[in-house]
């Protein structure tokens, strides 16, 4: 089902952990069918923002609406339509590759025959055929990441959230994930991407926000952001702008 208008609307979003304010009042929206980037140094609040959006953490203040529904009030309905690929591997080590997809499909209440069809299609799409019966612990980092992304799609989500999906991957696996993101967009899906890879952000994101210290410090299309901050003689890169905006000192 193709969406129209705004898939996500976040306004005045605050998240505090005790005295620490991880997200300090951010506003953003995500249009249907776009790839929206969340960039920022480590500890900037990207993953926290993603978790709030995915209804796995409660908001301290503000509101997030996903598909027009309040994330706080309808977490089950929102989560049923989102696919999330977290940064940390959390595949089920007690099961093999195909079984991971099958077991995960049950949480979405997908009938068994349909789940089997989807699992086989995803295994083929992510080139996991040779490993379908393999134990998850025996997979390489690249294969694990591919299986994580495949699992993200088991519920045929309308909004796909990928939290640093290419971190630590070899160029082949990285390009395969990029192709998948393009394919998802081409099929009308909305994608949220967090990344440290500026090349990735420029290639894939229609719009992005740069987050630092829990606040959005810049937003727009990659070209517009570079245009605003790059030196007048041209030749600016997103990475150069990113460093200029967020500073060169280490964050953590």
């Amino acid at each position: 089902m193709a969406e129209h208008g705004r898939v996500v609307e976040a306004s005045g979003v605050v998240k505090r952990y005790g005295a620490f304010e991880a997200v300090r009042g951010v506003d953003f929206h995500i249009e249907a069918g776009e790839c929206f980037g969340l960039l920022g140094p480590n500890g900037a609040g990207k993953t926290t923002t993603v978790k709030l959006l995915c209804c796995v953490l409660p908001l301290t203040a503000g509101e997030i609406r996903v598909f027009g529904m309040s994330a706080a009030e309808h977490p089950r309905r929102v989560k049923a339509r989102i696919g999330v690929c977290p940064q940390e591997f959390n595949l089920d080590p007690d099961f093999g590759v195909r079984q991971n997809l099958m077991v995960f499909s049950r949480y979405f209440d997908i009938p068994k025959a349909e789940a089997a069809r989807r699992a086989d299609a995803l295994i083929a799409r992510f080139r996991l055929e040779d490993k379908a019966g393999a134990c998850v612990d025996d997979l390489s980092g690249g294969l694990k990441r591919r299986l994580m992304v495949a699992r993200t799609l088991i519920n045929d989500p309308d909004l796909i959230v990928l939290d640093e999906p290419t971190a630590g991957l070899d160029p082949q696996s990285k390009h395969q994930i990029w192709d998948e993101v393009r394919a998802l967009k081409a099929s009308g899906k909305t994608v949220v991407l967090t990344t440290h890879n500026m090349e990735e952000a420029e290639l894939l994101c229609d719009r992005l926000v740069i987050v630092d210290l829990g606040r959005i410090i810049e937003s727009g299309t990659p070209a517009a952001i570079v245009g605003r901050h790059a030196p007048a003689d041209g030749g600016g890169t997103l990475e150069g702008v990113f460093l200029k905006l967020t500073g060169r000192q280490l964050r953590e």
Binding site: Y17, C54, V56, L57, P58, P75, R76, R77, K79, A80, I82, G83, V84, P86, E88, F89, N90, L91, D92, P93, D94, F95, Q99, V103, F104, R106, Y107, F108, D109, N155
Partner: protein, 261 residues
């Protein structure tokens, strides 16, 4: 009471997941409840029983092995339900990140944790049923009254499983779980009327024993195995159900608070 309203039928796939894992390793899951009671029956029943041939209990005398056998069923339920929720849940929560993955589906944390409690209870029922079969084979269980042991095992399984989850929720490290084993499980194992009638103990120790959850399950399994069901057992069932409900609520609340800040 949003905690209760956040528990739904969606807990079923959490239970199914754990069942699927245990079906893969079913041999190692069947052997302990099958062999443990045999060890106890041989060691205590026949070893100690050679010296303590008969034991008087509620105005009748029984062979020692017959007295002890229903206690083994109760102990098995306690061990298997508690340890599943204590160690199994801790491993799934902390090391396997299973709950984090499931949280990105329509399930809420309350569904996941209630499913875990239900799974621990299932392990308790399973252990109770196998041990009941063993003591039945030795002619130590009267029927049909012994069938009551099955629902009792499940209900007590919920209670012990909830205790296990509670311990997992408050333990920072997996090694900390040795403490509830030492402070909670072992005293119950020894002082719940499993190996000897409580009547011979000092009054204060009897009062303590009456508060121990295992005591109430032992009372039920022994009455059922002896074919001497009495109305008083309703109180034991009520105690088990009430403690089970209270501890489940507290365990889910604490574990959720630990995982979702």
């Amino acid at each position: 009471m949003t905690l209760l309203s956040n528990i739904s039928w969606r807990l079923v796939p959490v239970w199914r997941r754990n069942l699927d894992v245990s079906l893969v390793t079913w041999k190692t899951n069947v052997l302990p409840p099958l062999l443990e009671p045999l060890l106890y029956i041989f060691a205590f029943g026949f070893g100690l029983g050679a010296y303590v041939e008969r034991i008087s209990f509620e105005g009748r005398t029984y062979e020692y092995v017959a007295f002890m056998a229903p206690g083994m069923v109760a102990v098995g339920v306690m061990f298997h339900a508690t340890f599943e929720s204590m160690y199994g849940t801790f491993v799934r929560m902390r090391y396997q990140k299973t709950f984090e993955a499931i949280l990105h589906t329509p399930l809420l944390m309350e569904d996941i944790l209630a499913g875990e409690i239900l799974w621990g209870a299932t392990k308790g029922l399973f252990a109770g049923a196998i041990i009941l079969a063993v003591i039945t084979a030795f002619g130590l269980a009267a029927y049909p009254s012994s069938l009551l042991i099955l629902p009792a095992s499940f209900l007590a399984g919920v209670m012990f499983s909830a205790f296990g989850l509670l311990f997992a929720a408050v333990s920072p490290y997996i090694d900390n779980l040795n403490l509830p084993t030492f402070l909670f499980i072992t005293p119950m194992f020894l002082f719940s009327g499993t190996f000897f009638p409580l009547d011979g103990m000092p009054a204060w120790l009897r009062a303590v024993a009456a508060c121990l959850p295992l005591t109430h399950l032992v009372t039920v399994t022994r009455a059922a195995a002896f074919g001497r069901l009495a109305p008083g057992l309703v109180a034991d069932f009520c105690y088990i159900a009430a403690v089970g409900a209270l501890v489940s609520y507290q365990a889910i609340k604490l574990m959720k608070g630990r995982l979702i800040k």
